[in-house]
């Protein structure tokens, strides 16, 4: 159960370093109590989400409260990440917000069809980016009541 007391975890998946830096800057500037993890490719994101990444103390990453997902990435792209997340019982309840520079109808349709919970277009200006980060934090991490944690039955990945 997500609560206001605990620090919300966000997983940002984007291969573009500038966009990542601007996003992190924007999150920093709005000063909300949250933690942003960054995955710089689709495969890295899946490794983290399915607990396959190596960590110094050997435990698995805690699951994020929200995934911000870019679509166009080399190798495993955003659609594939989305598909696997929504197919995995342990992950499928995590809200996924698409954050992309594409306005294409096809991309929008495909995203929602695959189970995306929201679709945002990256703004050109930093001002716009600040606005979006504020709204994400305000809506998805504050107003929105998130899903319960996965049942024990759902623990094991398929």
């Amino acid at each position: 159960m997500t609560s206001l007391s605990h620090t919300a975890r966000i997983l940002l998946v984007d291969d573009n370093a500038s966009d990542v830096e601007l996003a992190l800057d924007a999150f920093g500037e709005v000063r909300l109590a949250n933690h942003v993890d960054v995955a710089r490719s689709g495969s890295e994101a899946l490794d983290r989400l399915f607990g396959r990444s190596r960590r110094p103390h050997g435990g698995r990453d805690p699951l994020p409260d929200l995934i911000l997902l870019d679509l166009k990435m080399p190798g495993i792209d955003g659609f594939e990440v989305l598909r696997q997340v929504k197919a995995a019982p342990i992950l499928r309840r995590i809200p996924v917000v698409i954050l992309t520079s594409s306005r294409e109808e096809g991309d929008r349709a495909m995203s929602y069809d695959t189970g995306a919970n929201s679709y945002l277009v990256k703004p050109v200006s930093f001002e716009g980016m600040l606005e979006i980060v504020r709204k994400i934090a305000g809506y998805w991490l504050t107003i929105n009541v998130g899903p319960p944690p996965p049942d024990d039955d759902d623990e094991a990945p398929p």
């Binding site: 573009n16 500038s18 966009d19 601007l22 800057d25 306005r103 109808e105 050109v124 200006s125 930093f126």
Partner: protein
Amino acid sequence: MRHSAPRLGMIGASALAVVALLVGAVGYAIHQDESRQVHATRFAELRVVGDLKADQVVDWRLDRIEEVAIGSAVAFRGVDLAAFVDDRADAALRAELGRRLEAVRGGRSFEGAFLAAPDGRLLLSLDPAVTELDPEAQQLAAQVAGSREPTMGDFVRVGSSGRVYIDVAAPILDASGRPTAVLLLRIDPGTYLFPMLQSWPTPSESAETLLVRRDGDSVLFLNSPRDRDDPPLTVSFPLSRTDNPAVAAVLGRTGEYEGPDYRGIAVLADLRSIPGTPWFMLAEVKAAELLAEVDARGRTILLLGLLVVIVIGGAMALGLSLRQSSLRQRLLTSERDRAAAGHLYERVLANGRDIFALLDPSGRIVDANAAAVAAYGYSRDELLQLNVRDLRAPETLPALEQHWQAAARPGGLLVETVHVRKDGSTFPVEISSRAIDIDGELHHQSFVRDITERKRAEQTLQAERDRAQRYLDIAGALLVGISPDGTITLINKAGCELLGYPQEELIGRDWFDLVIPERERDSTRAVFAGLMSGDLEPLEYFENSVIARNGDERVVSWHNALLRDAAGAVAGTLSSGEDITERKQAEAEILRLNEELEQRVRERTAKLEAANKELETFSYSVSHDLRAPLRAISGFAEILGRRYRDNLDEKGRHYVDTIVTSSEHMGILIEELLDFSRLGRSMVRAGPVPLGPLVAGLRATFGPRIAAAGATLEVIEPLAVPVGDPTLIERILANLVENALTYRRPDVAPHVTLSATRHGRSVTLAVADNGIGIPAEYREKIFEVFARLHTDREYPGTGIGLSIVRKAARLMGSDVTLESSEGVGTTFSLELPAADKGSTEA
């Protein structure tokens, strides 16, 4: 001696009487036998002649019916006969039908030709004097229109002119087999039928053929009796006179008849009915002619008997002066013999219609009758100076020797040749000649009949046959007649040429085995069997292939008509065909070309689609790839301008601000360019678009700008409902309102008017402003992508808005037009189809 002489005489006289009785009895028996033989021979002859004549009448009738059937099936193709039946005022059509009718009539073969409506009303006559058909002809036309079978009518006598005719009629059927009109061909029986009936194949004074029919309660003579001048169809007798061969015939009697005829004269006759007609035929000869022959033979026998008695008596009674007696007796015998023979000749010579000549062994004419004198133009004395050679036409002389020898053989000679008159003119003759022994010398007795009439009739018949064949031959269509067993009974020149066989090699062959390709043989035969059994309608269209002698295969389209015999049974088919091989090939070629064209179009379309796809991929990646660095430029410049502002001097701050605004502008440009290229990539929908919700959306979108500019957006109610794509219409209106708010006059508050008015079946959407207007020379240029008339400072914009409007309008099959005057305002409008009344603003 003197006493003994009378006693001897008594005995002799008694013996002589016995001998005379014996001779008389034998003679009578012989006479009776002869008489029976003559009767039997004559009846046999009558029967043969009856068969012959009846066959000729039947053949003649069927030939005529066939001609009218062919004429009706072929001659009126491609003419709008139905139109003529309805309206006979069309002169061109009348002339064309007249030409075709004349072609069917074929010169002198038919006396007249008519087209009648199925109800018997006269449509067209070759003889302008005929304005109406006789009741008989009308009835015949209606009859064939009903039965759809060609037939021959009966003899008709026109009361006013006394002329006699027979009509044959056949229906002209349309494509669905309904009778459109009836073709009537009129025959003058005097040209062929009557001469044919009158000619008698053997020498006879009184033989004749009569055609009769029942007419109510009397019997009507259809042709003229030999020794009467009454015209045809005028002689009739009541059926009550049953002692009459004509009455017996119509009452159903057939075969031999001996008794009085209509004149009360005893005749021998052969009676029969003509199949397929109400007619009966009598072949008859006067009994007197027969009796004369019997009598002549009887007299000869009597004479011979007397001679025997006299000779024996003389021999017994007269012993004295035997020599003188015997001499006198011989003279007497010779004299009487000659007298008897002379009597026979006399009869023939005097009464015979036929020429008679007696020729000596050298061929010299030793006797000739009056008919000979009349026929050759020589006097009798002149004739008796001539040899038979002198009567022969020069070209026939080579055969004379052979004829001469044939006449001497048993059975004699019956031959046709040509004789020449004194004036050098020639005439065809039939010679019946046999050798007789006269005084130990082999004479020839020859009966010669002038057969000019018969020949003319035969030639007429031949000419008609030839004409019919020519008619078949000149017809462009193939004509093939097939009997029920599948053999070819008739084929015209076009048919022979197509198949590559001479006619004689086709007639009698099995049509299906010879010309139908094996793969189609069974199905074609099945169709034929269907026609024969009546399961299939005639005139049914049929297509099949035929194989010519050289192996070429041709496709023929057929129309089939049934032929029926005199009894009405199916006697085969008459099919007219058209070689459609080339047409078929052309059709196949067109199909092939179409297929090729479609294939090419498919290939082109595929290529275009591929190119389009490539372009889309390109624009997608360009937009994506361009926007990422732009975000970096813009984002970092903005951060620089905010967090590090105090570290920059005035100039540095200006540069940073310029980088920010320029990159934002570039972001908009890219966005709009993508918008433009994206237009129409999804399917364009077409449905009624109520404008109310769209306008409400516009008010919401532009509300702040309208308020800030002090502008007004007026909507002219009611808004008509156009048919189009709601997204595209929304884009158009949004861009036009945006334009109107942007290009305002600085000193005048913007006033934008939006309307949708219906004109008939279309709706005009218009957005009008009171802005700066557009100079006339730029009214086309403004629709181009990135085309701008003003600097960004004067009026901000990207130059894509109107391009999007035009593209959206064109995607819906419309276009944008504008009216503008500088300093007053501009109205953009476009026309779209109107939705149905039912789907107005809801």
